[in-house]
């Protein structure tokens, strides 16, 4: 079976948009990225099956039946994405409740080590309190703090 060009373009656009949203700092945008990626994958799976008429024995000749397995897989994938979307939304909401924003933050320890490196000190050069609360992201430009 030759792939349908429309499908291919749709998949490409969905994946591209999804990936660029995943690279954002805001969890809500990441979430939208995940949804787009999920839909892109669903179309990709759909493209893998044989197109045709409904696969009902007695109504459709066997060689014209569509492949129903990819559709079953997509259903499963949709349910999983739905659950995860709800979870991510809850996570973003909780983050907003606690911090007033929903940005994906740097790891506290990474931040500590980066600070040490900036001051050119080793991890044991000075006694350091590792239980520092994570510094809010606000004081660092979001773009710069990434890896």
């Amino acid at each position: 079976m030759t792939p349908n060009l429309v499908y291919v373009i749709v998949i490409g656009v969905l994946f591209g948009a999804g990936v660029s949203l995943l690279l954002e700092r805001t969890l809500t945008r990441v979430l939208i990225g995940v949804i787009l990626l999920g839909n892109g994958v669903n179309v990709l799976i759909l493209m893998g099956g044989m197109p045709g008429t409904p696969p009902i024995v007695g109504e459709t000749a066997q060689d014209r039946m569509s492949d129903s397995l990819p559709q079953a897989m997509i259903l499963t994938a949709i349910v999983i994405t739905l659950g995860i979307t709800a979870f991510l939304l809850a996570l973003a909401y909780r983050s907003w409740q606690l911090l007033g924003h929903d940005e994906v933050q740097d790891d506290a320890e990474d931040r500590r080590i980066m600070d040490l490196a900036e001051r050119d000190e080793g991890p044991h050069a000075k006694e350091h309190d590792s239980d520092d609360p994570p510094t809010p992201v606000d004081d660092v430009a979001p773009g710069r703090a990434g890896r």
Partner: protein, 512 residues
């Protein structure tokens, strides 16, 4: 005896449903979870015996014969993984019950803990048993979603921060896995692993390489091999101690298991073994260098976890019976050890009030039992001779020497170096947290506790110490049964490499 096969998935799921209904009766919840996991352990042990005697056991779910339906397959590798994981989850469950009781959190919001924990177990066992790639994906998702909930329990600021990274990275790996599945189905028309084994041989080489790469990428993120491992030390240490312990012990190993399964069954030509060798080397060395630089026990252990995944990947990359056998042995050993160490770290946190090496001190004098509980698995991890860690590493390194390729020699050298550095990192923990005199600016309550050492013992609840002891004893027992266990893993590895026992068990009349 194949009716045993679905039970390790069904029992925890059933337990999860029951505990969910008993949300208001914590005592009943605890009883149900312990019974469910004990039953799982018994079934897993029976399965191990059955697969050893009769070979792989297969169940067609819903009575749909393969390749139409989904199959669950328990071969020697899967059965061994089931036994070890069931034992570990049971110990951690008892530990967490002990912790919950000690904290008096009888009716706190954690009524969701037991159902989620059981669902996690079901996801892990489903992934081990699955004979179908899509079902493997579902198993992964089940365990991942449960792990999202467990990691963000209580949703404090720290856990939300760590959980976000973990969830997003896991989602990415799931997306990659799912698109790989779409492509596999489009190119072969099946997702049944036994059938795929034959169909993949007919595909063009470059297409097969792409599919292999995508699957490896997805599993590599889950297994935390080097360039894909940065998420792990960020997210694991913030969770409650028992959750970290079970994650560290099991979740990465499920990824390794998936790598072993797909590499041996679907891609047996070993075209990318060199790449795997390099990855193994980098995982070992970079991971352990990270561990050396840490000043927090939990983070340090997370880095050693990454580092030692490298040994398993090395065994897979060797694609010889001795290599795979060593890798399987090492997985069984490492699940036990890493969980025991994290449980001990949880006890340290409880006893010393922190896991920061800069603040801890003098634990060896204050809490001798705890010191032993940390010391034994720690030496085991570093590979000190009488223990199973030494035997597992020895097996892997011997397999590497037998391989005799220049790259294998380099990885063998890297493995020895990693082992030494593990000893150094672990030695630092021992010196700072246990051996030296208590730190001058310890928190007040700790100082008080140390003033009356006799009264300090009750600080560690028995129900938390007992499972840790049990796991440590189990890990030491691995040393005593190492001979038979190595024989068993060798047979498992042979089965994996010849592929026929697995395929014939699923399709007795030949693959369609």
């Amino acid at each position: 005896m194949s009716h045993l096969v679905p039970l390790p998935v069904i029992i925890p799921l059933l337990g999860a449903a029951l505990t969910l209904m008993m949300a208001r009766a914590p005592r009943a919840q605890r009883a149900v979870s312990v019974i469910a996991l004990t039953a799982t352990l018994v079934v897993a042990a029976a399965l191990l015996a059955v697969t050893f005697v009769e070979g792989p056991q297969v169940v067609a779910v819903g009575g749909w014969a393969p390749p139409l339906g989904i199959v669950l397959v328990a071969d020697k590798l899967a059965a061994l993984m089931l036994v070890v994981s069931a034992a570990v989850t049971l110990c951690v469950l008892v530990y967490s019950i002990g912790q919950g009781l000690a904290d008096g959190s009888d009716e706190t919001p954690l009524s969701i803990y037991h159902p989620t924990y059981l669902v996690l177990t079901a996801g892990v066992t489903n992934a081990f048993l699955s004979g179908d790639l899509f079902n493997l994906y579902v198993g992964f998702e089940v365990l991942l979603v449960a792990s999202y909930v467990l990691l963000t329990l209580g949703s404090t600021e720290n856990r939300i921060r760590a959980g976000t990274t973990y969830v997003v990275v896991s989602l990415l790996s799931s997306v990659i896995f799912l698109s790989a599945l779409g492509l596999v189905y489009a190119s072969t028309g099946t997702l049944n692993m036994a059938q795929l084994a034959g169909r993949f041989d007919e595909l063009p080489d470059n297409l097969r390489l792409i599919l292999q790469g995508m699957l490896l990428l997805a599993f590599g993120i889950k297994a935390a091999v080097f360039p894909l491992s940065a998420w792990l030390p960020d997210s694991y240490p913030t969770a409650p101690a028992p959750v970290t312990a079970v994650f560290a012990g099991l979740l990465t190993k499920v990824g390794v298991y998936a790598i072993i399964r797909t590499e041996t069954l679907l891609f047996p030509d070993g075209r990318i073994t060199d790449v795997l060798m390099v990855i193994a080397l980098l995982t070992m060395v970079v991971g352990i260098l990270g561990a050396v630089a840490q000043s927090d026990i939990k983070r340090l252990l997370s880095f050693t976890l990454i580092s030692h995944i490298g040994y398993m990947v090395f065994g897979v990359a060797l694609t010889s019976v001795s290599g795979l056998s060593g890798a399987i042995f090492y997985i069984a050993h490492h699940i036990t050890i890493q969980t025991a160490l994290f449980l001990a770290a949880g006890l340290v946190e409880r006893r010393g009030g922190t896991t920061s090496l800069e603040r801890l001190g003098g634990l060896a004098r204050v809490a001798p039992l705890l010191s032993v509980l940390f010391f034994v698995p720690a030496l085991n991890l570093a590979g000190i001779p009488p223990f199973s860690g030494f035997l597992g590493k020895l097996g892997l390194l011997q397999a590497g020497v037998d391989d005799a390729g220049p790259l294998a020699w380099v990885v063998v050298a890297g493995g020895v170096l990693t082992s030494l550095l593990t000893l150094y990192a672990i030695g630092r923990v021992w010196n700072l947290a246990f051996w030296r005199a208590p730190h001058p600016d310890v928190p007040r309550d700790e100082a008080e506790a140390e003033a009356e050492p006799e009264q300090s013992t009750p600080m560690l609840p028995k129900l938390m110490v007992a499972p840790t002891c049990a796991l440590v004893a189990f890990s030491v027992a691995l040393t005593f049964v190492a001979g038979p266990l190595f024989e068993f893993t060798s047979e498992a590895a042979e089965d994996l490499l010849t592929r026929t026992p697995y395929i014939e068990a699923v399709f007795p009349d030949g693959a369609p």
